[in-house]
Symmetry: C2
Subunit: 340 residues, 2 copies
Amino acid sequence: MKIESVKKESSAPTMKDVAREAGVALGTVSKVVNGLPVGDSYKIRVEDAIRKLNYQVNSYAQGLKANKTYTVALLIPNTTEPFFAALAYHINIVLMRQKYRMLLCCTDSDSALEQEYITMAQQNKVDGIIGITYSPNLIIEENTPFVAIDRSIGTGIPCVASDNFGGGQLAAEKLADLGCKNVAFLRIGSSLSNEPNKRKAGFENGCLARGLHYEMKILDDNKPYEEFETFLSEHIHGGSLSFDGIFCVTDRLAYSVIQTLRRLNQRVPEDVQIIGYDGVRLFGNIDYVCSTIVQPLPEMAEMCVELLLRENMKAKPPLVCLPVTYAYGGTTVENTREQQ
Amino acid sequence: MKIESVKKESSAPTMKDVAREAGVALGTVSKVVNGLPVGDSYKIRVEDAIRKLNYQVNSYAQGLKANKTYTVALLIPNTTEPFFAALAYHINIVLMRQKYRMLLCCTDSDSALEQEYITMAQQNKVDGIIGITYSPNLIIEENTPFVAIDRSIGTGIPCVASDNFGGGQLAAEKLADLGCKNVAFLRIGSSLSNEPNKRKAGFENGCLARGLHYEMKILDDNKPYEEFETFLSEHIHGGSLSFDGIFCVTDRLAYSVIQTLRRLNQRVPEDVQIIGYDGVRLFGNIDYVCSTIVQPLPEMAEMCVELLLRENMKAKPPLVCLPVTYAYGGTTVENTREQQ
DNA sequence: GTGGTTATGCGAAACGTTTCGTGAAAAATG
DNA sequence: CATTTTTCACGAAACGTTTCGCATAACCAC
């Protein structure tokens, strides 16, 4: 008797306890918990017992039995970059709506960590992995569903991205519409992802279509922030910059460029207009950092989860490209009515 | 035979499979996997079999058996506010270092959601919950360890916070040191947390100690951003603001205040100096948004995990207050050598 | 060679679920 | 009332681990 009471007090109640309390069989409790049909009188007794004991199902036992855990791992470099943070937020929302839990793994873009997290996720028997990984080469993978964001990694793994080419094109068109004649494209380093290249290609395409004179500048990974200061300085003659518009590959870069331009006594947007890419907002929902090409995060999140969890999807598409939009953020000349 | 082969192919290999492959007993495999002492010849055979079958332990079975899951749930309102995002990042790092996984739950400050996530976390048998919850009143809780951040919730639940009182004081002292005579404290709404009150109290204390004339303004929750524009306008006489320093309860608020001041043709920091609270940096590691009182996030994260997981901690302290620092962020007059 | 002592691999039991075959009771039929 | 059909709760088995009492083999001492 002492042993029993100790058992009951020290550990959480189980279905067996509920069954004993309600005077029914184990399987009956299970059915009530899972909403399967069961006689009314039984149902009531079980529900009372559950309330009385404050019973909670143990989802690890469920997971073991069902080989399904309602958990998805999200791999991102960090949550401190607003773009990743916003991505995590939207994916979390979508997962939650479908009663899934989200395991967050910050990889710091370290490929060893990325790999470690992937094995960890598999051991944890997550139902799938969504990852924005910039790891150079092959990532081993199992029969765990995987969806990549923004960068294709290997065949058979679908990738969700914004329309980078279209976005680049849109940036060029916007700058042209706003009166620019002489523009530049700025991006950092030879990223492993080819998505920035698409932005560049789209921009080039747009410039050609609109007859803009353009220049492409790829900054060295090591000291990009120093290097673009040099680059910009070199293009200032007699106090005025030879560009009247710049498309930066990310809002982050745009932010730094704007700071630098102001330091060089160039007025933004009067002297030079800036468009970034991502649609980052300060503090989550206040202003855009700059005029920008906005990635459709809610839709991207939706699509990731969709691709990951819907198993009736035969032949998952290798790349899903979602449409971007332009948003005014104070670094282009624009009448206020166009603000969103 | 067909059944066997199907079994082997369709689902992941188990310890039983490894044992059969290596020709040893189940328990022996378990020991090898867990690094317990086992004869060398056995060990080698098991390790070979593990490699051959690409075996991975099923941590849900482990969790079921051990009643321990190496998972911690983190409850925060969202990841889009940079402060929460940074918090999540640091907690993730600390947890990871201890081989723990982090379940991220964004609550949107909705008390129903907060409650839902807490029960979910308990069902999931997480080993503990770390939460920054602003939910008005009582949150039911179990024998699941809980650590609160920035706001005490109920007895027996430890709370980790930055030294809000000291931070307020520090802000006042800094403003005094920088030459202010007439300052204001600005905060939004009657938050349920009493921590902002401590910032206010500390600031007041500092102002008194340094003989600063001060004014306190608490903005209405509903339209705070409109209201402080009014408030500031009212304090402009003949084009100049009657304050020469403002302490804002968060960097977020400071950011908006700065925008508004500029719109009202007040120069920051020449006409009025601004200090915020939190230590938010744009894009994670570029500049501070404003001169600010920095919360020690790495230490706070460390402390949260420590309090949560160390069970030999008798009588956990109800409140752990960690020291803050001041950081220059361009909205105070300061010589550059003081920049960090 | 015998008896006693270590050392160590073995395998059953248990963790808390879900599932499914079984059988008893209830309902329907003639 | 007898027989067949339907209904539905019961409880054992299984999911993949860990743990622990046992038994076997190895070792040592005399």
